[in-house]
Symmetry: C2
Subunit: 460 residues, 2 copies
């Protein structure tokens, strides 16, 4: 569908590197704009750090380098020369940012420091798949430093809220925000929190994550500040990565249907397409009405396109349905005589007649209504895929049915590994972020005391 | 000044790779937005091609690869593995785009194809300087393909117009648009056209260029189309590169003064800063008025900042002057009693009293007036630096005075080289794009027949 809807071309000659075509780039630019708006509203500022990271920066945090080194692309030559030291392509930019945070942060006055960059990152992945796992992929990375641990923990909530305001509120993609089990955290972090959505094949996809870095990087990069009392302390850090690429994957697969993409209004490169339908003798009046409507909608701020290509109306209908344009406006002889237009909604595939003078009011209404419809549909599916299980039999049946399970769990990595091997790759994804450790009966899989309620699923 | 105005940090540990701080990134994002608007208005669409270019794509056009190979960074390793083939970091993306243009273009229906990407590119330069010559620098590259040579030539004019609409109309940076001499053209092009501005040290800086690629790349990449008559032809191509990084350099150095940056209204991250001036007993009423003004300006769509930092007004004045904020609004006890505010213009360093109820009208007026003032000042300087010379003595004197010269020229590379050696690096930059070859008397330098009128200057 990615190729059919003209989002990407996968024939570029290097594995894991794709060409983003205009339709994809316009969607991606909208998603970037939404996240950047939320980040700036919550006090983040844009920066741009170099693509390359010197090996000595990269190696400072031991766990971090061990986690990422197998995935790093290295520049070793330039022109005819061999470089004196290798340069890593950024797989993520903690070590680039924090080398300078050590210079920038001196006193409490510089805190909190909240910076982000919108960039591509590079990872030498074995298996690749457009928008899900690439050797080049698009994201945002926000890196924050605080005077206190409490502020850092609050930032995790803020990141979750920012994710929600874009991904759910505006793109209608439901997700769970989970605290990952310790064996699944980011290399170099104290804890990892992440948003998981569910794709139509019942596998979960991580679409953003926030890492509680504690003072680990602060200690190795020596990022300290003098507080109001004159004492020197290490900062507390978090980093947040909304996975713009993966959000496109979720958008395409969750809302799409067998006819193609279905785009929410706000993210659609074209929000309404106007299709003239006529035989040659009616051409003039039909085109006049089309142009009038185009003008009205443009002046009202809509992204509108009058399709005058030399193709049949039917071909155009299919083309725009494939691309997911939310609203199609059909104008023909009947519509002119009746003083109305026909509106086709991509989300419900329904057609309604709308009087000419009610068109703008109707579009305002549809804009909200389409989002609500997509939300309702996505949420229903999402909720239907999650099931609470208490016994081993329920668990096995749920996994066979392709469900995401919510279950009492002992908390041990061995048990999680054993489930993965025996339950078609089922993985413990973590606990709700507000969840507290306690006594939750017996672990559904191993039968030992359950200290957590966790979500488990097959994952990308 | 770049460091003082908090635009960049040059302490990142790799030569030619700088950190773009928030103030720079916000300016850069505005410049990108302006160019993208103009490009989309003129029928270009956004794409994103991979950062890496396989060596076999890169080597197809002989002149191109010879020109760029000495500057290419190569990825040769990933994880613990040596890659089977080296990957180039894009120094420019002709060979990446055109490999796929060969697949995308089949018939006249796909033409013209006008695509652009906003990206960083990578060149292994020996001497580097922030915003002027970097190993990583920011630009846009637009790649167009046409059915006819005539359309390709028209595109060169369009590119010039787009440059003018951003760089002169909105950023007040004057430039000459020149056709480069044949020995100074882009590697692989038939002809190169470029915009040169003049920096305050009297050297010219190329800030954008368009290359007439003819059918050279079309032939090596086999980009053909079937025309309406059913004949298969090669496409005609152009590529356009507005140098976003260098436009920042021009913006900073041309408009700036000894106090710091001077930003045109439209590109300024903060357009108006409000500074409260008070002793403690007046705090409440002063802050109330400041907040009221902040609210009014925000609602009118201005980027405004109320500076409540714990610093003296004088410190804040200096800080915002350094950063080039166009308008400062001062509010103190006197201003409250008199029902006015004091407005300081960064461009003229003048202060005026403005009645509260005339503030918005005044800002509207100042917005245009500041741009006009910057244009006038920049143009006066620009014109004063260019002098027409006819004799060798005039030429030598003009060069000693640091002028850009407009002179009759024979057209030979040897003569140009001889001038460069003998005249402090003076280089022939080219002819006006509407210039026609003819008889222009005698070459100012060598005395042979002059077939061109050219501009010559020392250059970055």
């Amino acid at each position: 569908m990615l190729t059919k809807a003209d989002l990407v071309d996968i024939r570029y000659g290097v594995q894991g590197f794709i060409v983003h075509k205009p339709w994809a780039m316009k969607i991606i630019k909208q998603i970037y704009r939404m996240f950047e708006e939320e980040l700036e509203k919550t006090g983040h500022e844009p920066v741009l750090f170099p693509l390359v990271i010197p090996e000595e920066y990269f190696e400072k945090e031991k766990e971090h380098v061990e986690g990422f080194k197998p995935e790093v692309f290295w520049i070793t030559e330039a022109g005819d020369e061999k470089l004196e030291r290798r340069l890593a392509l950024r797989p993520t930019s903690e070590t680039a940012f924090y080398s300078l945070y050590a210079l920038w942060i001196q006193s409490w006055k510089e805190l909190p420091l909240k910076l982000y960059q919108s960039v591509a990152v590079y990872r030498y992945e074995k298996a690749t798949r457009p928008f899900i796992r690439g050797r080049e992929f698009l994201w945002i990375e926000a890196h924050c430093a605080f005077a206190t641990r409490d502020e850092a923990l609050k930032q995790i909530r803020e990141d979750m809220e920012n994710t929600r305001r874009v991904v759910w509120d505006r793109l209608a993609i439901p997700f769970l925000f989970l605290k990952r089990p310790p064996w699944d955290k980011f290399a170099g972090a104290e804890d990892t929190y992440a948003a998981d959505t569910i794709l139509p094949d019942d596998r979960v996809l991580q679409i953003s994550s926030t890492h509680d870095l504690g003072q680990r990087f602060a200690k190795v990069f020596n990022i300290t500040f003098v507080d109001k009392e004159g004492n020197r302390n290490y900062v507390w850090q978090t980093c947040y990565g909304p996975g713009v690429w993966r959000i496109v994957a979720a958008l395409v697969s969750i809302h799409g249907d067998d006819k193609g993409l279905v785009l929410p209004f706000e993210v659609a490169p074209i929000q309404a397409v106007i299709i003239p339908i006529y035989y040659s003798e009616e051409a003039k009046s039909v085109l006049e009405k089309c142009e009038m409507i185009e003008g009205i909608l443009k002046r009202s701020g809509y992204r509108v396109f009058l399709d005058l290509r030399e193709r049949t109306p039917g071909w155009k209908f299919n083309d725009w349905e494939l691309r997911g344009v939310p609203i199609r406006i059909e104008v023909g002889k009947k519509e002119i005589e009746g003083g109305y237009v026909v509106i086709f909604r991509r989300d419900t595939k329904s057609r309604i007649k709308v009087k000419d003078d009610e068109l703008l009011t109707m579009l305002e209404k549809l804009k909200d209504d389409i989002l609500l419809t997509l939300k309702k549909r996505a949420e229903e599916y999402f909720n239907s895929r999650i099931v609470k299980v208490q016994t081993r039999e329920e668990l096995i049946r749920a996994v066979k049915d392709g469900k995401i399970v919510f279950m009492p769990f002992c908390g041990s990595e061995e048990c999680a590994e054993d489930m993965k091997v025996n339950l078609e790759g089922l993985r413990v994804r973590g606990t709700d972020i507000f969840h507290e450790e306690g006594d939750y009966g017996l672990c559904t899989w191993c039968g030992k005391t359950a200290r957590f309620m966790v979500y488990a699923a097959r994952a990308y």
